[in-house]
């Protein structure tokens, strides 16, 4: 087989760059995009180079950022705008290949096998700069993992090839956490075995890694040695979705079942509306809870029948919560995730006794969705949700952030 040529394009400081593009007056000042502090979402989501120079880091709280940099410009996120730019970027990629695998909003893998990788990468960068007014870093390699490493090496607006000839000098000296799927926990574990760089990880025996991490150990070994074989998926949104979920850090810590119920209803409505938009039913509902000590867990349960009815799913979610949470600590964040999706228009075994009531509930959800589309999210609310204005006044669907789709979704770990 001929060697693959894979690009990984990463738009530099995506949110902040797009904001600066639209507000020329702040271009040269330190800028961060951050969540709403009044709703306790006040962390740095993105920053520009001026802000980076003051030592601000993504993920830290806005008050910490302001301490480091007086005069910092903090902007609220404008997701529809970012989404528009992400689509523009994908249109550019689509001129080069049909194998595009988005990874979050601002990153994408491109399979351009058969072409000259570095030349294509330079052309793409040039077009993004000229047509969109933002810059991108592109990694060029023979597998997805090294391509992603490459795009992180030189910023902004640069092309970095990681080839079979040079990966040992380019990729291996990098700290191990640069590797995809080495997060905080894995890094800590690796460090305890004195593995600090990707090269050290690559040199570690497979059996040793397998012993520590199980299957993930095999994957890490393959990643570090550039043996990743995973293909670049074709751009096909439907096939990518394995589960639909929504979580929120609540405006204040929750202390009783009633408050949890409000949040669960809000989240389930958002998840169900999204399932409806994508034409899915789900079989499994999972609830994740994070308390004020940041301890978190997730529990799931199977539905009696596939559903996208918000009332039903919220009922199951609430039952799960009641079963598994003991209220020793107040709750900071709750998530609901629906998985085992199946197409809503696929074959469905009808039932004898309860279809009428369910049809009505489905019609109700449908009506609420169309009202919200025309008159805004808050035009209609459940009575229980409007009982507590601050809690009920979050719109997780409208405010939502698109997270990168998991790398392992095509089941390579199975």
């Amino acid at each position: 087989m001929k060697e693959r040529v894979i690009l990984h394009a990463d738009i530099n400081n995506f949110y902040a760059s797009v904001e600066c593009l639209h507000r020329p007056e702040i271009r040269n000042r330190p800028v961060v995009v951050g969540g709403d502090e009044s709703l306790r979402h006040g962390i740095v989501l993105a920053k520009n180079y001026a802000a980076k120079a003051t030592g601000i880091r993504t993920g830290e709280t806005l008050w910490q950022a302001r301490l480091k940099c007086p005069g910092l410009v903090v902007l609220p996120p404008n997701y529809p705008l970012y989404l528009r730019y992400a689509r523009f970027a994908r249109q550019i990629y689509a001129d080069f290949t049909d194998r595009i695998e988005p990874f979050g909003l601002d990153e994408a893998w491109l399979d351009v096998s058969g072409g000259d990788g570095v030349l294509t990468a330079d052309t793409i960068r040039e077009r993004i700069r000229r047509e969109l007014g933002v810059t991108a870093s592109v990694g060029v390699s023979y597998n997805k993992i090294f391509a992603k490493l490459g795009s992180d090496i030189k910023k902004p607006d640069a092309t970095t090839p990681v080839s079979r000839e040079n990966y040992q000098t380019v990729a291996w000296p990098l700290p191990v956490e640069e590797l995809l799927y080495v997060g905080r926990a894995t890094r800590a574990k690796l460090r305890s075995y004195s593995i600090h760089t990707i090269g050290q990880l690559a040199a570690a025996p497979l059996s040793f890694l397998h012993g520590i991490f199980g299957k993930v150990g095999d994957v890490l070994h393959a990643f570090a040695n550039g043996q990743d074989q995973s293909p670049v998926m074709r751009l096909n949104e439907e096939a990518l979705i394995k589960s639909i979920g929504n979580s929120t850090t609540t405006p204040r810590d929750l202390t009783c079942d009633e408050e949890v119920k409000i949040i669960l209803f809000v989240l389930c409505e958002s998840v169900c509306a999204r399932m409806r938009e994508h034409g899915f039913l789900c079989r499994t509902v999972a609830v994740s809870i994070r308390d004020n000590t940041l301890f978190c867990f997730e529990r799931q349960s199977k539905l009696q029948a596939p559903s996208h009815i918000s009332g039903e799913i919220a009922g199951v979610a609430m039952q799960l919560f009641r079963q598994h949470h003991n209220w020793l600590k107040p709750i900071r964040s709750i998530g609901v995730r629906c998985s085992e999706l199946l197409p809503a228009n696929g074959p469905l075994q009808l039932t004898v006794f309860d279809d009428d009531a369910r049809d009505k509930l489905a019609a109700l959800d449908e009506t609420v969705a169309s009202l919200r589309k025309r008159f805004g999210h808050f035009c209609i609310q459940r009575a229980s949700v409007s009982a507590d204005r601050p809690l009920g006044s979050i719109d997780p669907k409208g405010d939502h952030v698109i997270h990168p789709v998991g790398f392992f979704r095509n089941g390579m770990l199975k």
Binding site: P347, Q349, V352
Partner: protein, 390 residues
Amino acid sequence: MLIAIPRQKFFEQLMVVTKTAASKSTIPSLEGVYIEIRPLAEDSAKITATAANTEMIITASSIYTVSEAKEVSAFALVLPVKIQDVVRRLPGETIQLLFDRENFAVTVFGQGHEARAQSEFRIFGFDPQDFPGTPSFTAPDLCLQMKSPDLRRALRQILFAISADESKPAFTGVHFRLLAEKLVLASSDTFRVATTSCRFSEFSHLKEGVGSFLAPGRLLQECVRTFGEGGRFQTEQTVTLKTERNKLLLESGEVMIFSRLLDENYPDVERVLPKEFAGSSAILTGELIACLERALVLTETGSPVLKFTFEKDGLTVKASSRYGKVQDRVAAKGEGADLEISLNARFLLDMLKVCEGEEVIFRHTGPNRGVLLKDDLYEEFRYFLLPIKS
């Protein structure tokens, strides 16, 4: 104490109960079989075998002619279910049981054809005091007597449609409803409903207002296995059914099955069965079974969905999957409107396999609506199956 009894009879008695013994229990004696021996005369004794799990208790007793007896007096112990296998494999027609009263153990001897060929098993049992007693039915609310082949037939016609889903407990049971001279049985797993009835000969209604009850499906499956023709243990031709508050007893000859009734609401089944039909189709049962099984070959595992086209002179069954396509046609006598509908073929086969008549009659009400099936032999047996909406 020593007794000698016929091996085969004892084996069959054990067979009736051992399947019910709890497979894993925190009370070890629940995993075994309770055996009680009571001498009746010089040369006869009554042996009672009982097994229990958290859902039900089954007991079978039988009077044995004892060919050899020494120091026989009433005695009980709990033996592991392995006793059944031991009795099955022992040589000879007669086996000797030597009980060790102090240690709750038994030594079983089997004599081969030759004088010197002998098997000897010593089996360790348990103290029987942990074993649950059988509930008493002193003042039953309801007492019915039925012919056991008739009850077996009725149960077979509906038991396949109960649900195995413990999250819908009502649907794991069979609903019984008392009418003037018959007992109406219904089962459903919410995708389909099966209903039939069974005649009873004697009836006493000791408490007013007990007209219906919900019995666990597991227990009734045991009844089919045990009572009447095809049953493993010789029982009488009649079955007595008694309820008392939340308890149920089914008794036939020397076999008794006890259980708790399910305390759940059951929907009105009669209400959901259609009364008016757009068309009907009569098909030979055997032909239809063969046709469905052929078509099923090409369906995906776990999705046994077939497309049915009912016409005046025939039924066409179609399936397609990544393996290919199949089209299978059987003769049918159709009346009224034609119909195209998708059905779960496994659900259909469940019913067809218990049909005893020549023909099965489909009655339909329209696309995406349920079909009602009938066996031409039994007027009371009806099966209502909801289609698959595609």
